[in-house]
């Protein structure tokens, strides 16, 4: 504790100081213990119980079922495809916004940050549903398309890969922008200015100086977006067709319709293995408190 350099404590805190000197980690552990116990009891133990349930009744058979069934493998591939599209889409759309946030004046930045976080306040079930209104056969987009004579028939915009990706990108964009912004805001802009002064064009200064320095944020966002996208349930169910069924929907069907708990648990364990490995990768390289730039700051 850095306060040890300070003079004149009452006796009570002198004792505290001695204890904390003898056991330097005691105070930290004491403060962490309630949260860690809670996470253990309501997250780790249930997950361990689920892993146990996946093996206990029929051994490895549920895993064999999933890994050899064409249907489940197809769902797995679809899920990965949608996650990749969503991640790339979010990065392409989020990068310019995060960049503008770093160049904006403080007052403008505050307003823009509020706008970026604003959608989070609206239930995501209802946000997906608003795309149903916009993209439907008689929705706003199709009214415009047919009204302006771009196409004589309405376009199939809903219940396909396009609508699922649009819906998921809209939901994950705030996370993208905040993650990118929290890295970009730490980049020393004078480096970019130095490049410009030495004759680099603005584009070249951006490409050779700013972009490489912002890459850690891009990688962090990549991992975070991909893991978040893996767990999506509502958006593909509302905006996708049968071809866009994602893994969470399949697990839901196995659990609540087929009532096959070992199979549902095994599918859950496989999903858990993927997300956990990505998270381990993330936490090796990035610090948690930088994650959302402290949400809205």
């Amino acid at each position: 504790m850095t306060v040890s350099t300070l003079p004149a404590y009452p006796a009570r805190s002198a004792r505290l100081k001695r204890i904390s000197a003898e056991y330097p980690h005691a105070l930290g552990l004491l403060l962490l213990a309630p949260m860690l116990s809670w996470i253990a009891v309501f997250f780790i133990f249930p997950t361990a119980w689920m892993i146990w349930q996946s093996f206990s009744e029929r051994g490895l058979q549920p895993y064999a079922t999933i890994l050899t069934s064409a249907i489940y493998l197809k769902v797995l591939l679809t899920t990965l495809k949608i996650c990749v599209i969503t991640t790339v889409g979010c990065l392409i759309l989020g990068y310019p916004v995060a960049y503008v946030l770093t160049t904006a004046r403080p007052s403008t930045r505050a307003v823009l940050l509020i706008l970026v976080v604003l959608p989070y306040w609206l239930d995501f079930i209802v946000r997906s549903y608003s795309w149903m209104i916009l993209l439907g056969r008689h929705g706003l987009i199709n009214q415009l398309v047919t009204g302006l004579g771009i196409s004589s028939t309405s376009l199939p915009l809903l219940y396909n890969l396009f609508s699922v990706s649009i819906g998921m990108i809209q939901i994950l964009l705030p996370l993208t922008i905040l993650t990118l912004f929290s890295t970009m805001v730490r980049i020393d802009r004078r480096l970019v200015d130095a490049a410009t002064i030495h004759g680099a064009s603005p584009w070249r200064a951006f490409r050779t100086v700013f972009l490489p320095l912002s890459l850690p944020g891009v990688y962090a966002a990549c991992l975070l977006l991909f893991v978040s996208a893996l767990g999506f349930y509502v958006t593909p169910a509302l905006l996708g067709g049968p071809e866009q069924t994602m893994i969470s929907q399949t697990i839901m069907v196995i659990a609540s319709d087929l009532l096959d708990w070992p199979l549902a648990s095994a599918a859950g364990v496989l999903l858990l293995v993927v997300t956990t490995s990505l998270l381990v990768l993330y936490s090796r390289f990035f610090r948690l408190d930088r994650m959302l730039g402290g949400m809205a700051r």
């Binding site: 306060v3 300070l6 004149a8 404590y9 009452p10 805190s13 105070l27 930290g28 552990l29 403060l31 962490l32 309630p34 949260m35 860690l36 809670w38 996470i39 309501f42 997250f43 249930p46 689920m50 759309l93 989020g94 310019p96 916004v97 503008v100 706008l115 970026v116 959608p119 306040w121 609206l122 239930d123 995501f124 079930i125 946000r127 608003s130 209104i133 916009l134 929705g139 809209q170 964009l173 705030p174 410009t196 603005p202 893991v227 767990g231 509502v234 969470s248 697990i251 839901m252 708990w261 859950g268 858990l272 997300t275 956990t276 610090r287 948690l288 408190d289 994650m291 402290g294 949400m295």
Partner: protein, 268 residues
């Protein structure tokens, strides 16, 4: 220094993305004030009829109250557990930080379906199924990270000399933290708590598994609604929650802002 045309293009692009981001929000809010009973956007004219509909409906009111109970308990627990942990992470724990960080992150982003089926199987022998605390206990796992992330960020921007000044004037370390540090980082704590509440209010899968089909919080009711009923009452229900949450946040923030300088003046 930058070429104005390039910066104009970037600003334009960012503006377009913001429109894309915010347009669905606008659609929902406008449709909640629609005067007709079908979903057309933009609505032909505005009215409050859908707000009257949901606030005179017993089921919607019950759903609101249930969501409020679960969310409040979740926010409270997340704050009580998350704030001390944030202090530990930013001040006292050096070794093992990565492990704790990874755990907190896992609690946040592990797919909800995994949390839902594992907590369901786990609750069966404990009799926590179909109970409000049972759901709030599970939601707290995902609420804690919001508090920890915000408070750690708040502490990073906090000038610790203020606390040292209190110590020099004879305050015990605990009193310095409670009297000086906590009031000053209160905005971070409040934002974390409100986000913990919001994630609980929006969470669907755990709620479906833990509460079954007897008691329906708002998210479950909305989920059933979007798949059958096609009228604007859903938009009105969700807009009401949003407005309530934002009003709550603003009130607490304003109250905190007014209270803070005097508290610092008295105690520091």
């Amino acid at each position: 220094m930058r070429a104005p045309r390039a910066s104009l293009a970037v600003n334009g692009l960012a503006g377009a993305v913001l429109v894309f981001l915010l347009f669905p929000v606008l659609v929902v809010v406008l449709i909640s004030f629609s005067s007709v009973d079908f979903l057309s956007f933009p609505p032909p004219s505005l009215s409050l009829r859908w707000y009257r509909t949901i606030f005179s409906n017993f089921e919607w009111i019950n759903a609101f109250l249930l969501t409020l109970q679960v969310g409040a308990l979740t926010a409270l627990l997340s704050t009580l557990l998350g704030v001390p942990a944030a202090f530990a992470l930013s001040r006292h724990v050096k070794r093992g930080q990565n492990v704790v960080n990874a755990l907190v992150l896992a609690a946040l982003v592990t797919p909800p379906i995994i949390k839902a089926i594992s907590i369901y199987l786990y609750y069966v022998p404990f009799g926590l199924l179909n109970t409000v605390p049972g759901l709030a206990f599970a939601h707290t796992v995902s609420g804690i990270p919001f508090v920890v992330i915000n408070v750690v960020a708040g502490l990073r921007g906090y000038d610790r000399d203020l606390e040292r000044a209190a110590s020099i004037h004879g305050a015990s370390p605990l009193r310095a933290v409670l009297g000086i540090t906590l009031p000053l980082i209160a905005p971070s704590i409040i934002v974390g708590a409100v986000f913990a509440f919001m994630q609980s209010a929006q969470e669907l899968l755990i709620a479906m598994f833990v509460l079954g089909t007897l008691e329906k919080p708002l998210a479950v009711k909305l989920w059933e609604g979007v798949r059958v009923a096609i009228d604007p009452s859903l938009a009105a229900a969700t807009t009401s929650v949003t407005v309530l949450a934002i009003l709550g946040l603003v009130t607490v923030m304003l109250a905190g802002r007014r209270a803070r300088p005097t508290r610092v003046a008295v105690q520091g």
